[in-house]
Symmetry: C2
Subunit: 329 residues, 2 copies
């Protein structure tokens, strides 16, 4: 790192601003690409892809405006056992109950206060959506954003006993930066609700709010006080086939680089959509095969890994491809 700083400082002090910028970027990529990735075929494939599509003399060159990348969030950029958004919902429920103790006798508040896991196990997706609607809607966007910031500042991720902002995957942070250094615009395309991820995207990933695409509630503009209110109804469910649809609505063109994870079959459609780009494209699928450093879980259907094999997508073995999983504490 010190060497890099020295190189950058020397380069900046030279005489031709434009040449220097190119030199700085090249030095950076040659010196330190993806340090937390083990040398192996996955890392090699990423470096080789980025090299060819940024080489103006290559037939595979992609103009900078078309270098768009989409990343899923849960299980792709940060851990998802449990979902961070579920922790947030519980956090809000506890705040609501502290304000109005009578709520503790009503569902789904009761189940959370009493730590009754059977309620959500039995209720399935419907019970979870009810919980999300109760804890994520009915406020203005400013109030909600402030609650998200408080949550991230104070809450600990239970399965690892660290602040939630330390459950991002270090190799993926490096991948985001590497792509940005090579002219990519990064979009996060999450199954989570969009405002929740927007509340932390700049701080965690250096991705602005408007480059986050997610599940969206129904909005209403209230003219009298000029605010947007979220109503307890889902307008866009950004998962599976919903992802290409949201990408088209939001971005208006196919990403040339798409990254998701196996676990819930949620990213297959996004990766397929990316692969139909007229440009050379790259699909990356994170495989949760590291029971020691992260979690081991596989889809019952094996649909994501099957699709990866069939379509020749690149699969990241967390166990073998990553030197470390999480940032230093």
């Amino acid at each position: 790192m010190l060497l890099l700083i020295v190189v950058v400082l020397i380069v900046i002090s030279c005489s031709d601003a434009k040449k220097n910028k190119t030199a700085t970027i090249n030095e950076k990529n040659v010196a330190l690409p993806l340090p937390s990735w083990n040398d192996g075929k996955t890392k090699k494939a990423i470096l080789s892809y980025v090299q060819k599509i940024t080489d103006t003399s290559s037939a595979d060159f992609i103009p900078i405006n078309d270098r768009l990348a989409t990343f899923d969030n849960d299980g792709t950029l940060w851990a998802e056992h449990p979902y961070v958004q579920e922790l947030f919902a519980f956090y809000i429920v506890k705040k609501m109950v502290a304000k109005d103790s009578a709520l503790a006798r009503k569902q789904p508040f009761k189940a959370i206060v009493e730590n009754d896991k059977s309620y959500f196990a039995k209720g399935g997706e419907k019970a979870l959506l009810q919980l999300v609607a109760l804890t994520h809607t009915g406020t203005t966007e400013d109030e909600f954003e402030s609650a998200v910031k408080d949550f991230f500042a104070t809450v600990t991720y239970p399965s690892r006993n660290v602040p939630v902002n330390q459950i991002v995957y270090q190799p993926q942070l490096e991948l985001l930066n590497y792509l940005k250094d090579n002219g990519f615009t990064i979009f996060i395309c999450t199954g989570g609700t969009v405002e929740f991820v927007r509340g932390i995207s700049q701080q965690l990933y250096n991705v602005p709010k408007y480059q986050v695409i997610g599940t969206t509630f129904k909005y209403k503009f209230v003219d009298s006080n000029r605010v947007i209110i979220r109503e307890p109804a889902i307008e866009i469910f950004n998962d599976k086939e919903g992802k290409p649809v949201s990408i088209q609505m939001h971005i208006g063109q196919r990403p040339v680089f798409a990254c998701g994870n196996e676990g819930g079959e949620g990213d297959i459609a996004m990766l397929k959509y990316s692969q139909a780009s007229l440009y050379p494209s790259f699909q990356l699928l994170i495989n949760h095969d590291d029971s020691t450093r992260e979690f081991y879980y596989q889809e019952k259907t094996n649909a994501s890994l099957n699709a990866a094999a069939k379509n020749k997508w690149h699969v990241v073995s967390m166990k073998n491809d990553w030197k470390k999983v999480f940032p230093e504490k």
Copy 2:
């Protein structure tokens, strides 16, 4: 312009890259801000606003990530008599009829082929939406984009007899550039359909597709050939109260600079929403009061100008505030 180039070249060749960048931007703004705007209170207000919110020592300073601007398109960035999108619909109809002459006996094709204006006058918004659905949906996004590009390459704007890309307002192009030079991210927030404007936004305004927000059809992902098909149903109608809703969905925060036009009451809600920003904000409304160089038209209700007066928004008199309206041929 030559002077500017010389200044920039001298500045670039100096020794400190970072200092130089600042110097270049300052020289540019001081030398040539908004040359097609007459000196007057509107231009002065724009310059003064941008100066204070980019001044780190000012209490009104806005961090670069929060310098977001939204611009309406029809009547705000380019002329709207007639709507360019209407010309495009007619252009597609003629292509469809050339392929299948039987269509010329069916409505709404018949009305267009026979130049029967009464059909749309009688049918109102419903007839227009039917026309847009027939000419804008049922294709893949690649096919549609290619049709938009062909249209812009060949069609002439009837009321001025110039290519359609010459009906943009020159002072507004300068305003977009001035805001970008000062760290703003520009979004176009149009009542037109989003893919249509995305097909030309980079070329005309240097705004990428993903920074265009517009009226949106219902999309469907077709897994077998990995394409998105637009269905003939409107998912989001991006006008009036729809604009703040779309901005929240797409950007996730209030723009600090918002610009619309009087004519259809379409931008009042967007300007109100922007004005409720916690930052110092700026609202600009274009008044079509120049019957000689552009068009003279006013809302029957006068709602936009009334809202501007009530809320102290800045009103552009095209007649008085602009030195010229359109770029040189």
